[in-house]
């Protein structure tokens, strides 16, 4: 009996979490503008979605920015992780602390501080500023994904490569990089996902004419309910879901492989509070 009640309670909470999303998805197929009535199944909103100029333009910017930002962030972040791993003392501490600032700062503060910087430096708000902002909040997550891989790395591997006749360059590209590749790819995917998912920071750092999907959804949602947003939400949810499943499956596989490593390969490496926007946060607790 108690067990039954316990199960009921948990299922109720699950219903609370899932019903709104399901309602949204169901309504995206509803052939009636008013929510009160079910007008039959339709794909009309999906068709209209893809014919909407504003939405298509923001889709283009969202993907373009996510691709460029996560690529640049991965390059800078990989170099940074290698540097931090080799550095000692003050420099290491300084860089690590800098890494945690954007992770721990509320998004709204990161957003407005970047906006102040861009306006202060007289950079026109728009595509460039949006891109710079996305790279900025992405890099720390790339660094935090790669560092654990480096910690697992056998210190003598590099020396062994040199002893066996590799040049430092060869040892780096043929030994070190392949070893930390899983971390690099995870970092890239994570950056890409965060970039697509971001609203607050983009909201403050974009200018007229350039908009991402979540900004477009926000401005449409402010005017009330729009079936096109339902369709858009459904698609975005599925997209992010697929990306995150890939990231998490990868991480889990890595964790299994790295069990003998001293710290495991937990990407959270001692961060006192994982950021709420860090999608890794969830499965990490499992």
């Amino acid at each position: 009996m108690v067990k039954f009640l316990k199960k009921c309670y948990v299922y109720l909470i699950f219903a609370f979490l899932y019903v709104p999303i399901l309602v949204l998805m169901v309504y995206s197929f509803n052939d009636s503008r008013s929510r009160g009535t079910w007008g039959g199944f339709t794909l009309r909103w999906y068709v209209e979605l893809f014919q909407d100029r504003a939405i298509m333009s923001s889709l283009y910017y969202t993907i373009l920015i996510a691709v460029i930002a996560s690529f640049v962030a991965t390059v800078i972040g990989t170099l940074a992780a290698l540097g931090i791993y080799n550095a000692k003392g003050f420099k290491k501490k300084l860089t690590m602390n800098l890494t945690y600032i954007p992770v721990l700062n509320p998004d709204i503060v990161t957003g407005i501080s970047l906006m102040i910087l861009f306006v202060f430096a007289k950079i026109q708000l728009g595509f460039v500023t949006l891109l710079l902002a996305h790279i900025t909040f992405n890099i720390p997550y790339v660094v935090l994904s790669i560092l654990p891989k480096l910690r697992q790395l056998n210190k003598h591997l590099y020396e062994a490569a040199l002893d066996l006749g590799a040049t430092p360059n060869q040892a780096f590209w043929k030994v070190i990089i392949p070893e930390i590749m899983p971390g690099i790819i995870t970092g890239f995917l994570l950056a890409f996902t965060l970039s697509i998912d971001d609203f607050v920071i983009s909201f403050f750092t974009t200018g007229s004419g350039v908009s991402t999907l979540s900004i477009t959804a926000y401005s449409m949602a402010r005017r009330g309910i729009n079936p096109k947003i339902n369709a858009l939400s459904t698609l975005m949810f599925l997209l992010v879901l697929v990306l995150l499943v890939i990231v998490n499956v990868r991480q889990e596989r890595e964790e299994k492989k790295g069990k003998d490593g001293k710290n495991g390969s937990k990407a959270r490496i001692g961060s006192p509070s994982p950021d709420r926007n860090d999608p890794r946060f969830g499965p990490d607790w499992l």
């Binding site: 316990k6 309670y9 948990v10 909470i13 699950f14 979490l17 019903v19 709104p20 309602v23 949204l24 929510r35 009160g36 800078i76 170099l79 940074a80 992780a81 290698l82 540097g83 550095a87 420099k91 860089t95 800098l98 600032i101 721990l104 509320p106 709204i108 503060v109 990161t110 407005i112 501080s113 970047l114 906006m115 102040i116 202060f120 710079l132 902002a133 900025t136 890099i139 430092p168 780096f172 998912d197 609203f199 607050v200 959804a217 926000y218 949602a221 402010r222 309910i225 947003i229 939400s233 949810f237 879901l241 995150l244 509070s273 709420r276 999608p279 946060f281 969830g282 607790w285 499992l286």
Partner: protein, 273 residues
Amino acid sequence: MKKATFLPYLIWMIMFIVIPLILVLFYAFTVSTPEGYKLSLDNFKRFFEPVYLKVILRSLGLALVSTLICLVLGYPVAMIMAGNTFSRRDVLMLLFVVPMWMNFLLRTYAWLAILERNGILNIALSWLKLPSVNILYTNAAVVLGMVYNFLPFMVLPIYSVLRKIDKGVIEAAHDLGANPVGVFTKVILPLSVPGIVSGVTMVFMPALTTFIISRLLGGGQFTLIGNLIEQQFLVVGDWGFGSAISVIMIVFILLSMGIMSFFEDADKEKTLW
């Protein structure tokens, strides 16, 4: 290996994280006068005007209420999940975090369709022959939005702490004659304090800083600290005041993080690993 490859990163972070924060501090602590910027605390003084104090109090109040509701709703969930009620615990926990993977904005938006006058909630209520409710654009809707968005942040840390509790300790308490209530209040609850603290912080902080939930579910006229900051920067254009509020918000965040790390350290001594 090559040295100092973190230099580009360091330069990037100083340019786009450190300097912007310094600029925020600069605008917060200065006022613009005809002769240029002057050091002043005026922006912070304005904060204590009744209009703004009300906003702060409301933000703190709503964030606290939401945190409390999350704790009351979430603790039992964490406990049941950590116990042996369900066999596929890992799958269930995964299902628990999946909704968080939906865009925050869209998750909040989803409630519009449920709460509005002709929304699902009222349709369901009228089927049950119950009077309709109009909570959209009220405090209740904002709290609901916060609880909905942040509940997993409360459940997960508590769950992970409860999972780590040594079953032997609980059995020992039983053997030594404690009744179930005693076991809970004297053993389980104290041991789960670190999880509660980190859950509370992780719900309280975003609840305090959000401006989307209040904007979408609270309507346009509804203001929280986050909305105030947004307004100062995007509508009013008063960067000084906006920066000052941001600084105060950062102070709040640092304070709660300080409290949290204090408890986390205590946790480490207890669990010893």
